[in-house]
């Protein structure tokens, strides 16, 4: 377990590495681009998945986001952190994709905003499985995550953006505000209401009672 000072140092080192990669990518290095994709593929894929709730769509969306990043990376001036710039680009791409999907009736046809239990759950082979867990415990954990994921999926789009970026991606209020183009106060308010909605959903599912019990 590292202390806060070590964590800060690790973060600074990671930041320097990313900046170096960005610089090389801006000069045309495809290896640097590949490395940036590897570095950010998990948070961006998770963001995309939470925004469209469909794995194939999320894969396609993630690819589109990184292609846009490659094209636009020369316009990154370093005024903000690269991760914040990337999240902003990803959020905008997600919004465009959702708009397009909504136009063709994608969400109505598949009811993906309210994912039915067990439907389109991420493939188990993609999830890291703790080999030491017992099968029953793993089953409960999987079921719990499914319910929480469904509760998030029921949120309105702008609520979902902030809760994913704060509680799943771990961004600060300021970074979320920059990525979404909102005021920090708006982020706070949306986050509070989003959490309250998820809490209500989990209470309805009986998950909190079970945890309490």
């Amino acid at each position: 377990m590292s202390n806060p000072r070590e964590q800060s140092q690790e973060r600074a080192t990671e930041e320097a590495r990313v900046n170096d990669l960005v610089h090389k990518a801006q000069e045309g290095s495809m290896e640097a681009v590949d490395e940036l994709v590897r570095t950010y593929q998990t948070p961006i894929f998770n963001l995309a998945y939470r925004m469209v709730n469909q794995r194939e769509e999320a894969c396609d969306l993630t690819q589109e986001i990184f292609i846009k990043v490659c094209r636009a990376i020369r316009s990154f001036k370093g005024r903000s952190r690269f991760s914040t710039w990337l999240q902003a680009l990803a959020i905008n791409t997600c919004r465009s994709r959702r708009q397009r999907l909504r136009r063709i009736g994608f969400f109505e046809a598949t009811s993906l905003d309210a994912v039915p239990e067990g439907a389109d759950a991420p493939s188990p082979r993609h999830e890291p499985v703790d080999a030491g867990d017992r099968p029953e415990t793993e089953l409960v954990r999987h079921e719990t995550q499914e319910i929480v994921g469904r509760a998030i999926a029921t949120l309105p789009e702008d609520f979902r953006e902030v809760i994913v970026m704060r509680d799943i991606q771990g961004l600060s209020y300021e970074e979320i505000a920059e990525a979404t183009g909102c005021q920090t106060g708006t982020v706070k308010s949306r986050l509070s209401r989003a959490r309250a909605k998820v809490r209500d959903e989990l209470l309805r599912e009986g998950l909190l009672c079970r945890v309490n019990g």
Binding site: Q63, E127, R166, I168, K188, L191
Partner: protein
């Protein structure tokens, strides 16, 4: 502390964004409020559950698929071109270029005034017996306008008299020079009603004689020799109306403006006035240049070989106002000889009247069908000199003079 305020602080407190004083208030409230405490526990568990979500693993081939996607969606050269063209800086630069070009073209048009064939005719044929001209140089040798008084004879000038002319020398400039030099510079000849470059056995020598860029039929040369090119273009449309190239007409217009002395040795211009006059004449619009034609308001057209009745009918179509009904309709007798009293006879014969200046060209064209048209200068009186010119009044007084039939 009301419960609603405490609930509003809970989310911030979970993220460590609540200041110490509020944290104390919140804890104190939770210690005494069972409902808020339950809500706080639920919210804390909810956030803990969300944060415990296992990150989904991205597709294993994402890096390759991004590379493939980049290669497949590589923009074409045309797309790159349009993207570059669509940049704001490029768009602004293009728009500025268009504005500059249009402005320059407009400015050129303003500074180059068109010349009508009739204007050439008017300038060249003020004398009834004006000799026919076949080349521009010949036209330049035609004596400058003689201001004809009531008792002045229209005797032709001696053929061997030295001639000084004002000729275009490129751009919009006119220069005073000997006729021989002008002829050398403007080696043009008329063929089938069109002024064209004189044939030369030595093309290089011919090129040297030509003013820079002067070649009839090439629109791009209009900037170099606008008047000549304009003349030639009009001559192609109305060859029958052309009797003199524009250079000679301009010479006369300039000479008149400058108060030229029409002596036998050519046009004498006040040296100080010449450049400004030349500039003014070159820039003057058509109507204004018509006004320089000796008399501001009156034109006397000599119709040779025409039928008086036909001439009257033609004029009657254009006359908008006559002094008397008789003047418009009556015709008593043909003039016995060409004298200064012809105008009065034309008046009483119904061959005079006010017409719209805009109709002047059409009237001339109609009269040319009826007979041979030449012009007589009308000497303005002091009162006439102060009259509103036709270009401003929009009307011109036209008298058709009928010379006695040849016996």
């Amino acid at each position: 502390m009301p419960c609603e305020r405490i609930k509003a602080w809970m989310s911030d407190h979970l993220d460590g964004r609540l200041d110490a004083a509020r944290v104390r208030d919140l804890n104190a409230h939770l210690a005494g409020c069972e409902a808020c405490r339950r809500e706080w526990n639920d919210l804390r568990q909810t956030v803990a559950l969300i944060r415990s979500l296992t990150p989904l693993a991205p597709p294993v081939d994402l890096v390759d698929s991004v590379r493939q996607g980049l290669a497949a969606s590589r923009p074409t050269r045309l797309a790159v071109f349009w993207r570059v063209l669509n940049r704001p800086q490029i768009r602004v630069a293009l728009a500025a270029s268009v504005v500059i070009l249009v402005g320059f073209y407009g400015w050129r048009n303003l500074t180059i005034s068109p010349v009508t064939p009739e204007e050439c005719v008017s300038a060249a044929c003020r004398q009834v017996d004006a000799p026919a001209v076949d080349t521009l140089a010949d036209a330049m040798k035609v004596p400058p306008p003689t201001v004809v008084g009531k008792d002045q004879d229209l005797a032709p000038r001696p053929a061997d008299a030295p001639v000084t002319v004002i000729a275009p020398v490129g751009g919009n400039r006119l220069e005073k020079m000997p006729a021989a030099q002008a002829e050398e510079r403007h080696s043009l000849q008329r063929r089938d009603g069109i002024w064209e470059k004189r044939e030369s056995s030595d093309p290089s020598a011919d090129e040297k004689r030509q003013p820079p860029g002067l070649s009839i039929g090439d629109a791009s040369l209009e900037r170099e020799e606008p008047s000549v090119v304009t003349f030639a273009a009009r001559a192609q449309r109305m060859p029958e109306a052309v009797t003199e190239p524009v250079a000679a007409a301009e010479e006369r217009a300039v000479a008149f403006e400058a108060g030229a002395d029409a002596s036998d040795d050519g046009v004498t211009l006040d040296a100080a006035a010449a450049p400004s006059v030349a500039k003014r004449v070159a820039k003057a619009p058509l109507a204004s240049r018509m006004a320089t034609d000796v008399h501001p308001l009156q034109r006397e057209i000599v119709l040779t070989g025409g039928d008086p009745a036909a001439a009257r009918q033609i004029l009657a179509r254009y006359v908008v106002r006559a002094k008397t009904r008789e003047m418009k309709e009556g015709y008593t007798a043909a003039a016995s000889r060409v004298t200064s009293s012809d105008k009065a006879k034309a008046d009483t014969a119904g061959l005079s009247g006010w017409i719209n200046a805009a109709d002047y060209d059409r009237l001339l064209a109609d009269l040319k069908v009826a007979g041979t048209v030449t012009f007589r200068p009308v000497e303005p009186s002091e009162k006439d000199a102060q009259a509103t010119p036709a270009s401003e009044s929009g009307r011109v007084w036209v008298s058709i003079i009928l010379p006695p039939p040849e016996t």
